[in-house]
């Protein structure tokens, strides 16, 4: 039974059927019968009964209807054993992909066994124990290598026209000598020499000196990224100043550049107050710029005054090295705030019997959408600086691997339509997240480690992208399923891409030899992830200018309730349109085939053959025509089938409405409550 294909209709997962070579690992370690699976939102304790299996990699539940639910151990975020009830021992499993399952195991001992096994299996201490190292998708070695070579970042920089006159490839970090968390190949301004790089890296936290992330060919402006400077109150670093000058000079089309600090101001100020050794770029200067910024924002009169002051050389102490830099603060909160925010959000939407009012006030108090908006706002600022002012931008936060990655990747997504294609999005993730050292393993808790390091930074990025796809339905080649699938595999540890915290670590783990890359598998399944509305030709979508007024932000139901099918729309438009598109293509193909057949017929001349062939021709034609007729038929049939499959509420087996049925016939109702599509009568 276990070697059957995994048919997860509700999840577009890539768990291909366990191949024969790995079958051994699918032999269950534990099998418990008569286990009940409760519906998360059902108000009565309606359940499915089935058998629970525990394999080396998955938890499997097969209910009486033979429907299988597979849960990867690595997806499990928390297991909880609740107090014993008359029905048995409840076991609640929370997953990183926001699936929550609630089992009731008849015997407490079994429950305890499962609980302990899951605790061990879901928290690995070593990378080598992760699923990716045992996963074998039946690829040979060359396919494996090709898979890893699918995304080539050097190629990507060439696409941006780098190296060029102003930007060069630096070999300074070839052996990870300067910065362990950066990739080997780094692109820097041509004017930046080795001493500058080394000096600047010493001045920056974790050695993450300013490097090129994206180069805008038309505007000649660059997006650079780094970490915060390690300056105290008066510290200066000439090399770092040179570095910034070099970046500025590398852009001939604008004489000033922006430095974007993605951290909120109030936190910065409290840091100053506590005089910690974490500061910002030369405080003295920035305070000047602060005033400058204020003046810029204020009314016209103040602006004129400022200009007069500048002309008279007053108000600005001295022209120094940072004079052509404008500082911009955007308030994105740190990883701890984000973690708590998501926890609050999940708490709210996991509540049984949630009212509309509780939902909205919970959504508000979690602050989640506020954070999403902050990230997007920062990205918009970045894109505007490049497009409208042709100014280069240097982005940093504290360590330059969380908020910086978010802002850089979203900013380039707005600027460059290439990243809105399936392949381009993979490149974007590979470049701004994986290669620049977003700590995937720490942030996703791949290994049993510090829970304070876990944070949904990447999830937020995906949610921002989703919000963009909602606002620009025609601008993206990929759809929501693609984003969800990537989210799934960031946590699944099934592929090597997201393991480890930086490129050096990945090389040490020999991931390219021992594991497989996710991207070729996603490309193979492309059709599932295509957006039927995508119009790549439209000129309007070269640069996206999203509107971030609050009412454009909404709760992402398909992410946070991906597995709670009862909450979803019952019919999918995407599917239908993709079908129609396919049918259009199919019809075109048939026309071509028929045309080629006609040509073939014309070339054959023998009399006897002709008569035979002409007869045959009719036969040959009719089956070809038939399918197109069948299409029509199928089309009218399709919705019915489709409806039965997708309209859950219309299925008589749907437990929620039948709950009402039993109660109805039983007794005289005193109060009837219908909650969340769950009708229930209490007597």
């Amino acid at each position: 039974m276990l070697s059957t294909h995994i048919s997860l209709e509700d999840t577009p997962t890539l768990y291909s059927a366990p191949s024969s070579s790995t079958k051994r690992s699918y032999i269950w370690r534990l099998k418990v019968e008569q286990v009940k699976l409760l519906d998360r939102f059902s108000t009565s304790n309606k359940s499915l009964t089935g058998t629970l299996y525990l394999t080396a990699t998955h938890l499997l539940f097969i209910d009486s209807l033979q429907k299988e639910t597979w849960i990867l151990h690595h997806h499990i975020a928390a297991v909880e054993k609740l107090a014993l009830t008359t029905a048995g021992c409840p076991l609640v499993i929370q997953c990183k992909n926001f699936r929550i399952v609630h089992f009731i195991v008849p015997r407490e001992r079994d429950c305890h066994d499962i609980y302990n096994s899951l605790l061990q299996l879901s928290r690995q201490a070593k990378y080598e124990d992760l699923y990716a190292f045992s996963y074998n998708p039946k690829q040979n070695e060359s396919e494996q290598i090709q898979g890893w070579q699918l995304i080539d970042l050097a190629e990507e920089y060439r696409r941006m026209d780098v190296p060029n006159l102003n930007w060069k490839l630096s070999d300074a970090n070839r052996d990870y000598k300067i910065c362990e968390t950066y990739p080997r190949d780094l692109y820097v301004p041509r004017a930046a020499n080795k001493p500058t790089i080394v000096g600047s890296s010493k001045f920056r936290s974790k050695g993450r000196f300013p490097v090129l992330s994206y180069y805008h060919q038309d505007k000649q402006a660059a997006i650079c990224r780094c970490s915060q400077p390690l300056s105290g109150f008066s510290a200066r670093c000439l090399e770092d100043e040179h570095m910034l000058q070099a970046i500025n000079k590398a852009n001939p089309s604008n004489r000033y550049m922006y430095v974007m600090d993605t951290r909120p101001k109030h936190r910065m100020q409290s840091w100053w107050a506590s005089k910690k050794d974490i500061g910002r770029i030369v405080v003295r200067i920035s305070s000047k710029i602060w005033r400058d910024e204020k003046i810029r924002e204020s009314d016209e009169k103040a602006r004129l005054n400022a200009m007069a002051n500048r002309a008279a050389g007053k108000g600005y102490e001295n022209e120094d090295n940072y004079s052509n830099i404008r500082f911009q603060f955007v308030g994105i909160e740190n990883i701890h705030v984000m973690r708590t925010s998501l926890q609050k959000l999940l708490e709210v939407n996991g509540t049984k019997g949630l009212s509309v009012s509780d939902f909205f006030s919970g959504l508000e108090s979690s602050g989640w959408l506020r954070h999403i908006k902050a990230v997007l706002d920062a990205a918009i600022f970045l894109a505007k600086a490049i497009v409208n002012e042709s100014a280069s931008v240097l982005v940093h936060c504290s360590d330059g691997w969380d908020r910086t990655s978010q802002v850089c990747s979203l900013g380039t997504l707005l600027l460059d339509s290439y990243y809105r294609t399936i392949k381009g999005f993979m490149v974007l993730i590979e470049k701004d997240w994986i290669s620049f050292g977003h700590k995937f393993s720490d942030r996703c808790g791949h290994l049993d480690g510090d829970p304070k390091e876990v944070s949904p930074v990447f999830t937020q990025f995906l949610e921002c992208v989703w919000h963009l796809t909602e606002q620009f339905p025609q601008a993206f080649e990929y759809n929501e399923a693609f984003l969800l699938q990537i989210h799934e595999h960031v946590h699944s540890c099934q592929f090597g891409n997201f393991l480890g915290n930086c490129q050096k670590e990945r090389e040490d783990l020999k991931l390219r030899e021992k594991t497989y890359s996710l991207w070729p598998f996603l490309l193979d399944d492309q059709e599932k992830y295509l957006n039927p509305f995508y119009t790549p030709s439209s000129q309007k979508f070269t640069v996206l200018e999203p509107n971030t007024v609050p009412f454009n932000f909404k709760f992402w139901r398909n992410m946070y309730h991906q597995f709670d099918r009862t909450l979803h729309p019952r019919q999918s438009v995407f599917k239908l349109i993709m079908n129609k598109n396919d049918q259009n293509k199919q019809l075109e193909k048939e026309i071509k085939e028929l045309e080629s057949k006609i040509k073939q017929q014309k070339t054959r001349h023998t009399d006897t053959v002709l008569t035979k062939e002409s007869l045959h021709c009719i036969h040959a034609d009719s089956p070809a025509l038939k399918p197109s007729l069948c299409f029509k038929k199928e089309q009218t049939l399709l919705p019915v089938n489709d409806a039965i499959r997708t309209i859950e509420g219309s299925n008589t087996a749907d437990n929620r409405y039948s709950e009402y049925a039993e109660e109805f016939s039983k007794t005289e109702p005193a109060v009837v409550s219908l909650e969340y599509g769950v009708a229930r009568m209490t007597c």
Binding site: F41, N349, L354, S355, V356, S357, F359, F360, S361, E364, L369, R370, K373, Q471, F472, P473, Q474, F533, N547, V549, P550, F551, N552, K554, F555, R557, H561, T566, L567, P569, R570, Q571, V573, L576, I577, K580, N584, E588, I591, S628, T636, P639, V640, D642, A643, I647, G649, D654, Y657, Y660, A661, F664, S665, E668, P669, L674, E675, Y676, G677, A679
Partner: protein, 476 residues
């Protein structure tokens, strides 16, 4: 001044409609300084020469609309004929032909076959505004029925009415023996209503009927909710938190949820439990219609077609006596807020929109249709939503003096705007999810003017393109 200066268009293709019974003449219309000419071609005998001085009056009529269309489009007895195809247990009663029995009911009503008109008249006296229980939906699959009425005038001393009880007994006898009274007020509100002469069906008096309270907001609180929502939606200076708290505070989506829930419950009772449903609130012209019309949309595939939806609106809202004139006099911005105003009909449209979001393939009409109906309900060059009841419409001769909205909407040029390109008939009931996570703000309406609508419209256009290409392919 030369006459020719006044002639802007000298020639035009035209169609002459000589009169009833005669074929139209197609030809070229030509205006000269003194004559109006219509020529059908070389030497045709029917050429028209009209001296301009002879023209007494010129009238421009709206395109392809004709007065009196409304009656033909959705004839009042059409519904009965549909029911009669299924069963002969119900009859068409003309007891209200002069609007004597009930001022807010239409002349033709469907009632159990064994109940005479005098029983109906007595029952009407026991119901507020004379709205005695009438059939509004016959569920074909199991023969259960849905009725609507107003509250019984039970009063503090618990009056009873034998004829009313007889009527409802007859309904149960026809529809399976079990019934459910869905009261759209809370039990407490019913208690209060008793003091002022209202009330609800007493269990003892109506054996077989159970009672269920699903309080739905109407009147002032609903109007306030609407106003607060629109205020929030038109304030772009809000922060994220403020926006969410105002969205929460206006409670509009709570009303949507409650309404859908009540309608689901009624539909579920009929479809799954096989009980007959009687829906009423107080007057039976607001929340009652919300529940009955939505339940029909959920259960009946016919209501989800373009014409079916129009006849649903015609039957369950216009003819059923929803006082459009009172409820929809002002929208959300009015300074004065008369007590009788409430966006009940808008709430209905919002619920339909929620259904269309969850079942995007199952409704033949698109968001454009809902928006058009919303606009015309509040201000319209058509007579469809005029007046408060059929009686008023009859007195004002609305049907003969105004044009029907439906015939305007059914013109082929409106197709792309109103219809759902991906409609595929779905014979099943639509059971929506009513959890807060599944309900959305109707951005197409409430945020219509506050955010650029282009991306959504373009996607809609593209959807049409994909689908029409497909149809083109099919015909190959």
């Amino acid at each position: 001044m030369e006459f020719s200066e006044l002639i802007r268009t000298g020639r035009a293709e035209a169609l002459l409609l000589p009169g009833p019974g005669q074929p139209p003449v197609r030809g070229t219309l030509c205006i000269t300084s003194h004559h109006l000419l219509l020529s059908a071609g070389h030497g045709s005998p029917g050429d028209l020469w009209l001296l301009l001085r002879n023209v007494d009056a010129v009238e421009k009529r709206p395109q392809s609309l004709r007065l009196g269309d409304a009656a033909n489009l959705h004839p009042p007895d059409h519904f009965y004929q549909q029911v009669a195809l299924q069963t002969d247990a119900w009859r068409l009663s003309a007891v209200n032909r002069d609007f004597d029995v009930c001022a807010s009911y239409p002349p033709a009503l469907v009632v159990p076959v064994g109940i005479g008109d005098e029983v109906l008249a007595r029952s009407a006296r026991f119901r507020q505004g004379g709205r005695f229980p009438v059939l509004c939906y016959y569920h074909t699959t199991n023969g259960t029925v849905m009725l609507r009425s107003s509250q019984p005038l039970q009063g503090a001393n618990r009056r009873r009415c034998a004829e009313d009880e007889e009527l409802l007994r007859a309904v149960l006898a026809l529809g399976g023996g079990r019934g459910l009274v869905l009261d759209t007020r809370s039990a407490q509100a019913v208690q209060q209503a008793r003091i002022t002469g209202g009330g609800t069906e007493a269990k003892a008096a109506y054996p077989g009927w159970k009672r269920l309270h699903r309080p739905l907001e109407r009147g002032r609180p609903l109007q306030d909710s609407f106003v607060r929502l629109v205020e929030a939606c038109t304030d772009p200076s809000l922060s994220m938190d403020r926006w969410l708290s105002r969205l929460d505070g206006c409670r509009w989506l709570t009303h949507v949820k409650e309404t859908l829930t009540a309608a689901c419950l009624a539909a579920q009772g009929m479809d799954r439990e096989g009980v007959c449903i009687l829906v009423h609130g107080a007057e039976g012209t607001d929340t009652t219609l919300l529940v009955t019309s939505l339940a029909q949309l959920i259960l009946d595939p016919k209501c989800r077609t373009m014409s079916g939806f129009q006849s649903l609106l015609e039957r369950e809202w216009i003819q059923a006596g929803h006082p459009f004139q009172q409820r929809c006099a002002h929208s959300a911005y009015a300074q004065a807020r008369p007590k009788h105003e409430a966006p009940v009909f808008l709430l209905f449209l919002d619920c339909v929109w929620q259904l269309s979001r969850q079942f995007p393939l199952s409704l033949e009409f698109g968001e454009g249709m809902l928006l058009a109906v919303f606009e015309h309900a509040y201000a319209s060059p058509f007579g469809t939503f005029l007046c408060n009841s059929e009686k008023e419409r009859y007195l004002c001769e609305v049907k003969t003096k105004t044009h029907s909205l439906w015939s305007s909407l059914n013109q082929s040029k409106e197709r792309r705007r109103l219809r759902n390109p991906i409609y595929t008939p779905n014979p099943l009931a639509l059971w929506p999810s009513v959890e807060p996570q599944s309900l959305q703000l109707w951005a197409g309406l409430f945020l219509r003017w506050t955010r650029p609508p282009e991306p959504a419209q373009e996607a809609w256009e593209q959807l049409w393109r994909i689908v029409t290409e497909q149809e083109g392919g099919d015909t190959l």
